[in-house]
Symmetry: C2
Subunit: 346 residues, 2 copies
């Protein structure tokens, strides 16, 4: 009998192997093997053991089993914001991929607060997950994650990247994404193009703002800081940002939004100003969450393949857990422009 | 020295109490107590131990500690859909309340699939969470959860209720919510009121449909099954449902939507038909997620206080873990009508 099966000392009235063994008049070792579906136990016996265990509510004890194998089969996920559908949809992909590989998700969230992030990651760590998938809060640095690397916990960064931390990363080529958005708007004849949302203390914000500026200048347009509205990418930021730039003496005719959430806010903000994307203004989002195609007008956006990102991150982490000495890997998923109805000729 | 601290047998090069004790020339018992912030250890010693432990990446081993205390301090959350902001926002409230009480969330999702739900709940159970918070998939019955009650795992049902299962429940008075919505529309002079979304195989769908029909008849209107479009509450359901009822020979002038997500879809679907909520049609949602107030027109909706629901569920569960013999409790949160701009006189 192995350690995973014996830790039933009757708390909460739990059923032990002993009880099952006595009821069926077999050894506890047989019960243990049968519950693990071992080929050495006769099929008929296995069925009887499994049926009784089920009936009695026996639960295999992973907590004890993990001491034996030094694996908990838990993957900790630390995300700043799961109310953004981009991260909720990504989390579903992480969870499904982990579940297929027999792992369960431990979840922690912390908004954009470094202090909360430190506390949440510290707690997740205490549960000894086999590894972690993280999207850090704004402003996080290599030092923020040093306690994880010191503890040699396998970590994959997703979406937002802290450079120089020596960890695996899966994300989108955010500079390239911004280039795609601006090229599309320039092709439609826009010359005053705003950028709404995004903060430079995250890699996604920094890279998309860099791509925006590079592309503006590459196409021979003037970079105008008045057309840039910075804040974390929320609906509220889009609502406020679009109204701010429309109030300028020389307003833009188009806007590239940091993410789809910001774009949805900007679409609503436009309507509050009596304007309409796809008619007298153009909006490009970034992410391609499910809601983007459902919108009216349907949102033109940069697809970051976030479900693929979630799957790849879970796969990289599972590989990293098996082979901790692999060199750090950096997977950049190629963004694509998805043209829908929210953009129109200038 | 207690069991929680010793299980470092060098896997992945982890730091043991022994190493810290040797480096600081103190006993392992002192290290153990210092890491637990025990008052019997001098402050100066505690600081040195804690600083070195941090520097070396020592992690307190909850897995071993849980064998000692028979508690894992994990709360399993099984939700059908976290991409609906209602459940994502509720999950944040559960997670924050659990974190304040020193608990971490194990997450599983299963869509509306009973087969997937069974698999996911079975896996979550193996991690021996101290308790579970569940919103079951459509069609779930008392039998679906029998394996949890047999295993005497404390469970709190949230939002969707399976009656007769003898478990705690926190949700909204969904019949009453539908009454509030219909009373508001009747007061505005509407007599042809559609109901879009919701399935009778969940308590929320069943109760809101029942409330809709009761209220229609109470106000002396005719219940017309053509005005009812049933499906799970998604944006897609709202998009399709509103277009279906608007195509009727005698179309409605208002719709009560099963949830806000359905209402957002209906608002977009209306626009596809050249109509506008708050001008020539009225839409009432149900939930009051953050996006409802941000919409243009801002959504009139039934507020279900889902953050409060998440907090209460976590609190009830923590009480239930301490006192497993409490009788089942049923907390119905009173819904409120929030009138915004998406409703207008007929």
């Amino acid at each position: 009998m192995s350690m995973g099966d014996v830790i039933d000392r009757g708390e909460r009235g739990r059923v032990t192997l002993q009880v099952i063994a006595e009821k069926l008049d077999v050894s506890t070792a047989t019960v243990s093997l049968a519950l693990r579906d071992s080929p050495v136990v006769a099929e008929a016996t296995k069925s009887r053991v499994q049926a009784l265990a089920r009936e009695l509510g026996y639960i295999y004890n992973r907590s004890a089993a993990s001491l034996r194998t030094a694996r908990t089969n838990m993957i900790a996920v630390g995300f700043h914001d799961i109310t953004n559908p981009y991260f909720a949809e990504m989390l579903v992909a992480v969870e499904e991929t982990a579940a297929e590989a027999g792992r369960t998700i431990l979840l922690g969230t912390y908004g954009e607060s470094l202090e909360r992030q430190e506390r949440v990651l510290g707690t997740l760590k205490e549960y000894r997950p086999d590894g972690m998938i993280l999207c850090p809060a704004g402003g996080a640095t290599a030092e923020s994650l040093a306690h994880l690397t010191a503890a040699r916990i396998p970590v994959v960064q997703i979406s937002r990247e802290i450079e120089g931390v020596g960890l695996d990363f899966v994300g989108s080529d955010d500079v390239q994404g911004a280039h795609l958005a601006i090229a599309h708007l320039v092709e439609l004849g826009h010359t005053r193009i705003a950028m709404i949302g995004g903060m430079e203390d995250t890699s996604t914000g920094w890279c998309r703002h860099r791509g925006y500026r590079e592309a503006i200048e590459k196409h021979g347009l003037r970079f105008d800081p008045d057309l840039v509205y910075m804040d974390y990418g929320t609906r509220q930021t889009g609502l406020a940002g679009i109204q701010k730039v429309l109030a300028l003496p020389d307003p833009p005719t188009a806007a590239f939004c940091f993410n789809d959430l910001t774009a949805f806010g900007a679409l609503l903000g436009l309507r509050r100003c009596g304007r309409e994307a796809g008619l007298d203004f153009s909006i490009v989002g970034c992410d391609d969450v499910q809601e983007a195609a459902q919108w009216y007008p349907a949102l033109t956006t940069v697809r970051n393949n976030h479900a693929e990102m979630g799957r790849r991150a879970a796969e990289l982490l599972i590989e990293r857990i098996e082979r901790p000495d692999l060199p750090p890997r950096r997977v950049l998923i190629r963004p694509e422009l998805i043209v829908r109805a929210s953009t129109v000729a200038a």
